[in-house]
Amino acid sequence: MLSQFDYVKPLVLNEALAALAKEDNSYVLAGGTDLLIMLRHNLINARHIIDIKGIPELNELRFVENEGLTIGANVVVNTLIDSELVKNKYKALHDAASCLASFQLRNRATLVGNICNASPGADLPPALLVYDAVVKIASVDGVREIPLVEFFTGVKKTVLTKNELVLSVFLPDPGENDTSCYLRQTRLKGHDLSTVGVACRLDGKGKVAVAIGAVAPTPLRLTALEAEINEKGISEETILWAADAINEHIKPISDVRSSEAYRRHMASILMKRCLVTLTGKEV
């Protein structure tokens, strides 16, 4: 039995924001695939549940040429997987979404929920980070936008305050000739959080972007490593160098999923595989 809470399902955004601001111990419910597990284990003391699925503007999944893709807070992961646009324009996001949990969970789980849960091992953040995602956040005091790279502050911690709600995640239009991929290692072939997950992007100008999950308290965008890769230029030597160098930029721990040493090893392997996948070079 879950602890007792009341439940509201506002049909307009302002009502939801007012409800969030009014009471402590209020929690936002969209897909509920993380929230209900936290409730089940009494990890949170929720007294008020605010279901945002009745708010139409949060259902938005819209791409504007030369601007980008807006993914509203109610957009579930299977919708992203089914989107040809996401597959063509943001391949790493398609890849990451495809390996998130099971089919049933993806019918409920939302992308915005995945980032708000802020698990260090979540699959979607690395893919979003290489696309310079921006998070749009609202409260009764107004709207603010912050880059996703500044959104995570620790294990299961974000910059969100108690009365804030994430409206959407925005990914700028990557333009032409942009490719990316997300590769991950898990303990078993099936549903598990990643042991290590690497997203890599090669943009239209030939610049590389790299982000990685499950090797630090937060998902990381490895800008220093990217700069060095881009300075060296993509070659077989650079790929092998990057596979080694990635270990200077991560801080993995040993836990139930993997030892630190294995995480370091896999980060290196996945870095190499990502660059090989994107460049078609053989190493």
Partner: protein, 185 residues
């Protein structure tokens, strides 16, 4: 509005929002379709859809096993999509259409999908079977012509300790074929 009032009000229909019945208790009235029949009930907001189906409606097909969306034994269709009912609140199903394994057969005549689970020996203890059937139903309703990989992906959220999955895969694949044949007739 109380349940009694709602039930007596012929004009009442599925509502967008759950209505809090009084300020003192937290119970809400939900109005939904379960296996084709309209259901109006009062529930606590913290009641899971799974427990609503089992405890209130006495539909014991959906099983509780892991309780965390890992095993798929509680899978039902919600507005046509397979979901793990242990991770859905009953109040969230307000206004929704729910299909459970009890809604698959026509009277005593098993559906093609159910028949194929028997023909292909796709069950042993049977505990996972309702969830398996609902995941398969959700797939075939959206995608009547799935590839082998699509079948595996749709069924991968349902665990089975008995069969080793091959017969389950065969049953879904064969059911898809028979359902296509039936539509073409």
């Amino acid at each position: 509005m109380t349940v009694a009032e709602l039930k007596n009000d012929g004009k009442a229909c599925a509502m967008d929002t759950a209505h809090v019945s009084s300020s003192r208790d937290l119970r809400v009235v939900i109005d939904l379709i379960v296996n084709g029949e309209r259901v109006i009930e009062e529930v606590e907001p913290n009641m899971l859809l799974l427990h609503f189906l089992r405890d209130k409606l006495k539909l014991f097909g959906a099983k509780e096993s892991c309780g965390e969306g890992e095993c798929g034994a509680c899978t039902v269709l919600m507005n046509g999509y397979a979901v793990t009912s242990c991770l859905v609140l009953a109040v969230e199903a307000n206004g929704a259409e729910i299909l459970t394994v009890e809604g698959l057969s026509k009277g005593n005549e098993l559906s093609i999908l159910q028949q194929e689970f028997i023909f292909q020996d796709a069950l042993q203890c049977g505990f996972c079977t309702p969830g398996m059937l609902m995941s398969a139903r959700g797939l075939l309703d959206k995608n009547p012509n799935p590839t082998d990989e699509e079948i595996r992906e749709a069924m991968a959220g349902n665990l089975c300790r008995c069969t080793g999955y091959l017969q389950i895969f065969d049953a879904v694949k064969r059911a898809a074929e028979r359902e296509r044949e039936e539509r073409e007739e």
